[in-house]
Symmetry: C2
Subunit: 364 residues, 2 copies
C-alpha cells in the first residue's frame, strides 16, 4: 500500500484549516486538529486524520448520509453548567452538539481544577459528539500530576456476551497515572491505559477491509451470529464481540451505564433523545488528586520503580521486551515526531478531496 | 465428587462461630461470615467458606506457613481517619491488619454517606487483609441507590502481557448500578460487574486442581513461560495470564496503581512495607450519587429498559438466554437460598477440622 509521509505540523495545519473552513472558530478547530494528529502520532490511525472527511460531512446539514454522526454544529461552544449545589465534587458540561474535542478538553480542565479542591471529582458531558481518543484526556490529567479515568458510550456495534445483536458501543475505557510530581514538563510520559471494550475497534475493521485482510478469531460474528474473520461481515449486519468474554462485556456495560447514563444521554440500545445519543459519546471523566490520599513524591517514586521492574522483567518467548500500557503509544509518538506520519494514499486522497471542496490548500 | 448441602443460616452460624473463636468480636465475625456465605450463595465458591481454614491459620501467630496472608489481627477494629481538610470528597480507612471484611464495610458505608454530600466520593483502605468478593461492596452501594466502583490489588500471581514473571495480582474490578430508586428493598437486584483481571481466578485453579481437571487455553504459563492448561504448573512457579490480552493487562495495572497506590500500600511487585502489601488488598471504592448528575427516576427507568432489551435479545447459537452482568450471581443466589449451599466433602472436612480445633460445634 502506498503511503504519504507528512510532518505533524503540516498535518495539524491542514486539519485545522479544514475544520475551520467547515465553520468552526479557530480555537476549537485547533482542538479538533490536535486531537486527530495526536492520535496519529500515538499510532492510533483509526482515530486520526482519516476521520476528517467524515467529520466535515457530519458538520454539514445534508448529512442524512450518515446515520451515526448526524448533527455536529461546528460553531457551537461547550458550556460549563452552573454548580447546582455548593460543595459538590461533580460538574457538568453541555457540549451543545458542537465538536466533541473542545467539550472534552473543557471537561478535562474542569475535572483537574475540581479534583485539586475536593480530592476526587467527576465531570460528564451531554450533547457531545465524537470526542476522539479517550487517552488524550486521561493523559492530560496525568500530565497535570493527577490520576485520570474516563469512559464513554457510543452507537451500537457490539453484541453482548452470549448474544448476537448489536446492543453496545465499542465503549472505550481509559486510565492514566503520572510518572512525575506535579506538571510533567520534560519528565517521562504517563502510564496510559486506553482501549475499546470490543475485541477490536471498529476503525481497525475499516483498515483491515481496505487492505483486504481478515481479522483475528473471536472478534466478530456475521448477521446469522456465526463467528467470522471477514471484516465485511460486520458491515453486512454482523456485530463485534466484547474483548475478554464476559469480563470485557462487563466493562462495556459499565461504560454505557456510567458514560451514557450519568451524562443523561441514555444507552446505546435505548437512546434518550431519539437518535440523539447515537450521534455521539456520553462521556464521563474522573480525576483523583494523589496528594490528598498519600505522599505524592513517594507515590511517583513507587510508580517509577514498578515501571522499571516490569520493563526489566523476562519477556515471553519470541517477545523482545515487556512494556507498560502507554509505551507503544509513546514509542510511536517519538518515531513519528522524528520521521513524519505515514498516511495511506487512499486516506490522503480522501482528505485532499475534502480540502479541495473547502478551498483549503494542501501542504506543498 | 461428594457434596454436603448446608442451609445458609447454619453455614453462617458456623462461619461466625469459627471466626469468633479465633478471637474476633461478634459484630466483626458476623461481617466475615456474611461475606463468605454471600459469596457461596452467589456461586463464587472460591470466595466462600472454603477460605475458613486459611483465614483461621492467618489469624494465628504461628502463621509462617502462609507467605501470603500472614498477619490478620482478629480483634483489630478498622478506623475512619479524621478528615484532613474540609470539603474533601475522599476519606481513608485504616484496616489495622484486622479482617478485611469489616474494613471494607466501613469504607462502603462511608463512601455512600460522602457521595450523598459531594456527588462523587472515594474511600481507600490501608493495612487491609483479604476483603473477599468485591461485588459484595459495590452491590451495597447500588442497593443504597448509588453507583459503585471498586478495585484492589493483591499479591503477585499474574504475568504482564508479553511477559512471564508474576508481577501483578489477580486484581479484581467491580461495578454496580441500581435498578430501583433509592434503597432497594424488595426491588430487582443491581446490574453487577465483578471479575478478576486474570483470565481465571486463582481460587478456580485450586478447584480445578482438586478435581484433577485442566483449565482452558490462554489462561496459564508454566515456570518456563510455556502455555499450559495444567493448574499444577501455576503452583510450580508458573503464572496466570491477564484476561483479554493487553486490555485486561491494562485493567490489572490500573487496579494496582489505584488500589495499591492510593491506599499507600504499594504495588504487588514493589511492595511498600516489606511483605506488607502482599498480605492483603490495597482497596479503593468510589460512589457516584446519580441524582446529582441526572433525574434518578429517569435513570433507573432507562436502566430497566436496557435490562429488558438485552434479556429479550437474540442469543448466540447454543445459548439459552442473554444475561446482564450480575444475573448469574442472582440466579445462583435464589437457587441456593431455596435448596441450600453445596459444599464439596473435602472442603467440608477441612472446615470441620478447623471447627473441632476451636471447639466450635458443627450443625446437627
Amino acid at each position: 500500500m502506498h503511503t504519504v509521509i507528512v510532518d505533524r505540523r503540516e498535518l495539524h495545519e491542514l486539519a485545522r484549516a479544514i475544520i475551520a473552513a467547515a465553520g468552526t472558530p479557530d480555537d476549537m478547530a485547533n482542538d479538533v486538529a490536535e486531537g486527530l494528529v495526536e492520535a496519529n502520532l500515538c499510532g492510533h490511525d483509526s482515530h486520526g486524520v482519516m476521520r476528517l472527511p467524515g467529520y466535515v460531512s457530519f458538520s454539514q446539514t445534508k448529512a442524512e448520509a450518515s446515520r451515526i454522526f448526524n448533527r455536529v454544529r461546528p460553531a457551537a461552544r461547550p458550556e460549563l453548567m452552573p454548580e447546582s449545589r455548593l460543595g459538590l465534587a461533580i460538574r457538568r458540561v453541555d457540549g451543545g452538539w458542537g465538536w466533541g474535542q473542545p467539550a472534552a478538553r473543557l471537561a478535562t480542565r474542569t475535572v483537574i481544577a475540581q479534583a485539586l479542591k475536593t480530592g476526587v471529582a467527576t465531570v460528564t458531558i451531554s450533547h457531545c459528539n465524537h470526542v476522539g481518543r479517550l487517552g488524550e484526556y486521561t493523559a492530560m490529567i496525568a500530565e497535570a500530576g493527577l490520576i485520570g479515568f474516563a469512559t464513554c458510550n457510543a452507537g451500537p456495534a457490539v453484541a453482548p456476551f452470549n448474544g448476537r445483536e448489536r446492543l453496545f458501543g465499542t465503549n472505550p475505557f481509559s486510565f492514566a497515572v503520572p510518572r512525575t510530581v506535579g506538571v510533567r514538563g520534560d519528565g517521562p510520559r504517563p502510564i496510559l491505559v486506553d482501549f475499546a471494550t470490543s475485541g477490536v475497534a471498529e476503525g481497525k475493521l475499516q483498515v483491515a477491509q481496505a487492505k483486504g485482510l481478515p481479522v483475528g478469531d473471536g472478534l466478530l460474528i456475521d448477521k446469522d451470529g456465526q463467528p467470522t474473520s471477514d471484516p465485511a461481515a460486520f458491515y453486512d449486519g454482523g456485530a463485534l464481540l466484547p474483548m475478554g468474554l464476559h469480563k470485557g462485556y462487563g466493562v462495556s456495560v459499565m461504560a454505557d451505564l456510567l458514560g451514557g447514563g450519568l451524562s443523561g444521554m441514555g444507552f446505546a440500545c435505548t437512546p434518550r433523545f431519539g437518535e440523539g445519543n447515537l450521534a455521539g459519546n456520553g462521556f464521563l471523566i474522573t480525576a483523583y488528586n494523589i496528594s490528598d490520599f498519600v505522599n505524592v513524591s513517594e507515590y511517583v517514586s513507587k510508580v517509577n520503580e514498578l515501571y522499571a521492574r516490569v520493563r526489566s522483567s523476562q519477556p515471553a518467548r519470541g517477545v523482545e521486551a515487556v512494556l507498560l500500557p502507554g509505551d507503544p503509544e509513546w514509542i510511536s509518538r517519538e518515531l513519528r515526531l522524528r520521521e513524519g506520519i505515514p498516511i495511506p494514499e487512499v486516506t490522503w486522497d480522501a482528505i485532499s478531496k475534502t480540502a479541495a471542496e473547502l478551498h483549503v490548500p494542501l501542504p506543498v
